[in-house]
Symmetry: C2
Subunit: 599 residues, 2 copies
């Protein structure tokens, strides 16, 4: 009996794969994958974010990308591991223009999943560690400029005498993190943000808001949170962190600036972006435009019959600030997502009489259970102790093809249902309509498919279960002068109606900023094409339009939660840098647009 | 032949030592040290910073401290090492009230050096990692306050309805770092700083100023600089970092506030500190006062005959901002330390006619050589790769008793002289008076003894060597209407005279803030008592009055470079926290005051 180590098995596979590619033998290379096989590439070969989901697709992707990429030096990193018939390991590789990191899972000696990701571009590496700048030029240099003088000069020139290469519209965490990465890569970038200061998009929300994702999930690149950062950041604390982050990473952050319109000049192949800043109209002419107005950017305010007749106060959840004024008053919250629950609890804590209107079934996961079962293996103190830093966790998550994810998640939520059975029973007995997703695949998958439909319970569910927050289920018929009339004939009187009805897709920002025509040309953002509710097919296998080229040249979308902002900003920044440096970036498999309409 | 591993040797020693202490056998415990032996303790046993420098002193220190401390669990950490006849290793231990970390060097089975340091107080550990706060209270809590509400309330109360336990006068890096540690330990603290913003004490200096210590030496606790931070921070960049650091660590930083006087109330055992803030007089009543006005706090302006007659501009180096106005003019810089050289170079780069007056011999070390030979093993990218983080490096440095340091440093500077022989020869040929310290022990030792007398060369020495910056050596006789007259009879005409004549000891701040009487009672700060120039004896073996109890109850001094601020703030914060919590803190070996006069 011969046994080989996991490392030897992985390196053996890599050697064979590398050799087959070197001699251009794509049949042999493809034959190294099993019949059930996935190759996910983040920018290193496809110059896009793409998963090939069977051997034929893998072969086509190899044939299209490898001749230019000239990959080599496929080398295992670490020891690899072996469990349940799956041998896996990390590896590094090079292409003609970059260095990458990958992950491989083998079953019976054949590849089941392969992840390839681009780490850096040769000759354009971030100047860090041994290669950091000196900060001072030793010697004597008449006319030298200090760091502050150079920075002040650059701030004054950029956008006026000197055009940025990239403009990012939206200065929330997504825009800030992307701009930080571009700064390290020396890509001249301006962020346009309507709020005055970085962090204001958090500060301006309802006061009880805290992150529902834990700290290990939320680190920004380059400057991790300190070890005593709270598990769940209060909104104003994360806002202060973003403000300092934007300052010390020296971003060109144009706060208090409104982006009025953007037009792509086909002849010059650049954007013409008109902004209002400090009372002046400024036209910026960057090569690339990144829309980072947020997956939850524009408010989705529903239009019910009779809204104009309501004599009380109506607000979208994004406008809701504080419950102070509603003590002893009647409040109705329309919706059952995170914000709806948070706002219900906040109003109740302030002595309001609160009713939630739940219009469709909702996924509820208790925060502690979610951390333990769904996130703990990758994002937790225990994971850190196992050497799984945020960057490692991100790559492990990335190594799981979206097609496989639902099946992997079903047992997690089965376990959750069992562990919290008494809790769910109490909640259902109150009339609350529960779901775990159409295929019981849980919160992460639902987030990827539709970005909505769930609540991470931090206390509001108990208020609903025992009736302290009242529950009304069903559809709204119309709004009356005094409240809400349901289709089931029930009527609710209200002094306040909060519409916690979510946000529209980021391409509605494009319709507003650029044109309806361009918005339709690029189609919807987000969603995998799963054919489930609010995520129409056909299947795409990656998030639509996110962090990768779109049907509109030089238009990009960036966003998502803090984990996604951290992880995918790396790949978007490298795509932009490659273009700035004139590196060939042939995009493989740009998805056709199938979902033009707003969801 | 039997060989045992370094770890076994160290653990064997610790077992024997621990057993001897447990049975109160101080003879046996002392006998485990060699005849040439040192025990340095940072707060864990002595509640002070103290080195016992021979077996008798060690025995006395054991007898005095161990009965209360009840040490146990002396346990090696890691593998230890063995080289050149010295076996060494890290260890941890516990006392009745705290947990500590130590370092041991054995020669022939006997201890040569032992370091013991206090890491944390039991029951008062920093809430980090697994013990971090949750950030949000799950559940429903009517009347709950948000993070921002609590913070705003605390800011409004502290110093008014609620008295701080500690007031720190001086909000430079020293005060900020100490306050950050106290915040993590929940010790209510206010920083009083005359400048408006954290970082201003850097911003207000001459514009070409950069740190002369490299980034690996300069990290602040909790939030290390990112990997792309420049080797030598420009002053405005470090200022921005300090500003953000003070914000995200949530310090109670009273900028734009002047401390007018402080008086210790013997009856109440508290300070009465009068400050001016926003036009109002506020009296603070903390239990402890920390003076962190900087080792280089108050300017030391010399008084030469005739100064009042000078028709040009006279400035202390701390007042010098920019060379812009001195193009084509004659400038004289009095002094030959770091600032003197920096200012000479800056004036020369701006086209001034510059003369340096060197009054005594100066230690010059080229920056690259210094980094390579003197700092590289502990503070460098290479050290980081060897696992020597800043915290580990600090402890290694701390493990070398000050008494041994000069002998260990002499060979380093011998090597420096050889490597840069041609450079030193050119410099001497220009007439520059060189020294490497009275015993050739170099820059670090000179810094510890007197905090002055050296230049880390980043370019100015070449200007002096080839005469672009002129050099005058000798004593000044008097200042005239048109310039400087030397005792050797030479006269220099000048439009500008900059006095780069250093700063006075921190106890001059005490004379000003408290009283001359208290300043004399505590005596000078800094210096080891080496009996060399500007560091009169008798030998103390530790820096006078720094980070430890002084002869004035409840008065403390904090300061030093960024490495010292980082490292010693840990021990000062633990001493203050222990007192706040009523832990017994009997101070061993408070040094008598022998140097009352200002140096």
């Amino acid at each position: 009996m011969t046994t080989i180590t996991p490392a030897a098995a992985v390196q053996g596979w890599l050697d064979g794969f590398g050799a087959a590619l070197s001699r251009g033998d794509y049949s042999a290379a493809t034959a190294m994958f099993g019949t059930d096989a996935y190759w996910r590439d983040l920018v290193s070969f496809t110059w896009s974010i793409k998963t090939a989901e069977d051997p034929a697709a893998i072969r086509a992707m190899l044939e299209a990308t490898m001749p230019l990429a000239h990959p080599r030096n496929w080398t295992i990193q670490g020891e690899g591991s072996d469990a349940g018939g799956v041998t896996e390991g990390w590896f590094t590789f090079e292409t003609a223009v970059g260095r990458g990191k990958g992950h491989l899972r083998l079953i019976g000696g054949k590849a089941w999943t392969m992840l390839t990701t681009l780490l850096e571009l040769k000759g354009f590496e971030e100047k860090k560690g041994e290669n950091r700048v000196k900060g001072v030029e030793h010697g004597s240099h008449p006319g030298r400029k200090t760091w502050l003088e150079k920075k002040t000069e650059e701030d004054a020139l950029l956008g006026f005498q000197k055009q940025p290469y990239v403009v990012i519209v939206g200065g929330g965490q997504g825009g800030i993190v992307l701009a930080a990465r571009l700064k390290k890569l020396a890509v001249p970038t301006i962020i346009i943000e309507k709020n005055a200061q970085p962090g204001d998009s958090w500060r301006n929300r309802y006061k009880s808001l805290c992150l529902h994702d834990p700290v290990w999930f939320d680190h920004l690149p380059y400057i991790p949170f300190p070890e005593d950062w709270p598990v769940f950041s209060p909104k104003d604390k994360i806002a202060d962190w973003l403000e300092m982050y934007a300052k010390v990473t020296e971003l060109n952050y144009w706060g208090g600036t409104e982006c009025q319109r953007a037009r792509f000049d086909e002849t010059k192949q650049e954007w013409e972006i008109t902004v209002q800043r400090k009372g002046a109209t400024i036209v910026l002419r960057p090569t690339h435009l990144v829309v980072a107005t947020g997956v939850s950017g524009a408010s989705n305010v529903p239009s019910f019959v009779g809204m104009e007749s309501f004599r009380g106060t109506q607000l979208h959840s994004s406008q809701f600030r504080s419950s102070e004024d509603w003590r002893g008053k009647k409040a109705v919250v329309v919706g059952s997502n995170n914000s709806a629950h948070d706002i219900c609890a906040d109003l109740w804590e302030h002595g309001a009489d609160v009713t939630m209107i739940q219009r469709s079934s909702t996924l509820v996961a208790r925060s502690d259970t979610l951390m333990d079962l769904a996130l703990g293996a990758l994002y937790s103190e225990a994971a850190m102790k196992n050497g799984i830093t945020a960057d490692v966790a991100d790559l492990i998550l990335a190594s799981l093809p979206y097609k496989l994810l639902p099946a992997l998640q079903v047992p997690v939520y089965q376990q959750m249902k069992e562990r919290d059975a008494a809790f769910y029973k109490r909640l259902e007995q109150s009339g609350f309509m529960l779901t775990f997703g159409e295929d019981d695949s849980g919160l992460l998958v639902m987030y990827l498919r539709r970005g909505s439909g769930y609540y991470v319970d931090v206390g509001a569910s108990e208020l609903i279960a025992d009736g302290r927050v009242k529950l009304m289920t069903g559809e709204i018929n119309r709004i009356t002068a005094t409240g809400v009339e349901m289709k089931n004939g029930m009527a609710l009187t209200a002094d306040l109606i909060v519409y916690a009805t979510g946000y529209s897709s980021m391409n509605s920002s494009v319709a507003q900023l650029v044109s309806q025509e361009v918005a339709e040309k690029v189609g919807q953002c987000w969603g995998l094409g799963s054919g489930t509710r609010k995520d129409p097919g056909p299947w795409e296998g990656e998030l639509r339009n996110m962090w990768k080229p779109t049907q509109q040249p030089n238009l990009w979308f960036h966003g998502g939660n803090l984990q996604q902002s951290r992880h995918y900003s790396q790949f978007l920044s490298l795509q932009l840098k490659a273009r700035m440096e004139g590196i060939q970036t042939p995009v493989y498999g740009l998805a056709p647009v199938t979902t033009r309409a707003e969801r």
